[in-house]
């Protein structure tokens, strides 16, 4: 009688241990299954953006701020790239290649960033 109890206790202990190990390692088992970081690409890939892809990914908001300041407050509406290409400082310039605001939304949703550009600027 005493021996039987012992085996039962052992089964319980091992079950609990297995459950515990599963719970602890659950997060590690999920590796690789996380939501992929979106990497949206311009629709007309042949043309080059205002700056390099790496710069735009990291600093597009600074560039847009700079454009806004230039166009609204200084009257400089044309952006000239180092290699001499000219762009109008306007959100709609972006959408000529980048299609729609969906391009912006994909990353911003992932990063939980909420820019409020589109409440007033409604370029599609």
């Amino acid at each position: 009688m005493r021996r039987v109890m012992k085996i039962r206790e052992r089964i319980l202990i091992f079950c609990g241990l297995a459950l515990f190990l599963f719970v602890v390692s659950y997060a590690f088992l999920q590796e690789g299954k996380a939501k992929k970081i979106p990497t949206p690409v311009a629709e007309s890939a042949s043309e080059q953006c205002v700056e390099s892809r790496e710069y735009m990914r990291a600093n597009h908001m600074l560039l847009l701020d700079d454009w806004r300041h230039g166009a609204v407050r200084e009257g400089e509406r044309i952006h000239v790239t180092p290699d001499g290409r000219k762009f109008e400082k306007n959100l709609s310039t972006c959408f000529q290649c980048h299609g729609s605001r969906g391009f912006c939304v994909r990353c911003h949703t992932y990063a939980s960033a909420k820019p409020n550009c589109f409440s007033c600027h409604h370029e599609m």
């Binding site: 806004r68 609204v72 407050r73 009257g75 509406r77 409020n116 409440s119 007033c120 600027h121 409604h122 370029e123 599609m124």
Partner: protein, 258 residues
């Protein structure tokens, strides 16, 4: 002992007086200078100064084409009540547009007519001086009093400062009351002030303001007031004109031929 105290008080008093005198000599000059710099806020003599001449003799009573065109291209909402009203250009009776000019025995035609009113894009704009965030500013290159809606915090100091009532506040989300949204121009946010921008977005494309272009009578003329050869200057040369409340020293860029 008593004499000593009296002497001490006398000397201290003299010292304080001398100090005050020196202080006014040092500080007053610089404070006067800033005051003067502020009163002539950005008054431009170089570069362009956009202006408008409104020939009220040609303006037809009951016609609202310029108002409709302006409000349509700039997504100006129409809430249908005076409290929430947003206006960039509108019509008002003579005594409201020219309160200082209301003299005795004004002709009936003048009294009965309504006159176009819009932002005067003053050469010395009081709204710009009132704005704590510099959301509204005078453009140094063409004299337009512009708004940067991104910066406006909705304090409405500019509305209190403007003697012409040219500014409106968005009490409600303007998107609710825009009938047909023009995709080419942004809308505004609830909680910001807005006003006529002299169609700076059209000027950038070498187009005349929307109101000037739509007027079927050609009553509105737009041009550079700093250019003596311009059409507006010709009109000012040939006609007697009025500026709204010119006695306030705001130097409006909108002129009226009565």
């Amino acid at each position: 002992m008593n004499d000593n105290r009296r002497e001490f008080i006398r000397k201290t008093g003299l010292g304080v007086l001398a100090g005050l005198g020196a202080a006014t000599g040092i500080f007053s000059k610089s404070s006067f200078e800033t005051a003067e710099a502020q009163t002539t806020h950005g008054a431009s003599t170089s570069g362009k100064r956009w202006g408008m001449v409104i020939d009220t003799r040609k303006c037809r009573e009951g016609c609202t084409k310029c108002i409709d065109a302006c409000h349509e291209v700039h997504n100006v909402p129409d809430f249908g009540n005076a409290k929430d009203e947003i206006k960039w250009i509108w019509k008002s009776p003579y005594e409201n547009v020219f309160p200082g000019e209301s003299k005795q025995f004004v002709s009936e035609e003048t009294r009965e007519k309504s006159y176009l009113a819009l932002c005067n894009h003053c050469d010395n704009p009081p709204c710009v001086r009132a704005c704590p965030t510099r959301a509204t500013f005078k453009r140094s290159w063409d004299g337009i009093v512009a708004m940067d809606y991104h910066r406006c915090i909705g304090c409405r100091f500019c509305m209190a400062a403007c003697p012409y009532g040219s500014r409106s506040f968005n009490w409600r989300d303007p998107r609710e009351a825009i009938e047909k949204r023009d995709q080419a121009y942004p809308t505004r946010e609830r909680g910001v002030v807005e006003k006529c921008n002299f169609c700076s977005e059209r000027l950038a494309q070498n187009l005349n303001p929307a109101c000037v272009e739509t007027c079927p009578e050609g009553a509105l003329t737009f041009g550079d007031l700093n250019d003596p050869e311009s059409e507006v200057r010709m009109l000012l040369e040939k006609n007697h004109t009025l500026q709204r409340k010119s006695e306030l020293g705001t130097r409006p860029s909108v002129f009226y031929i009565i």
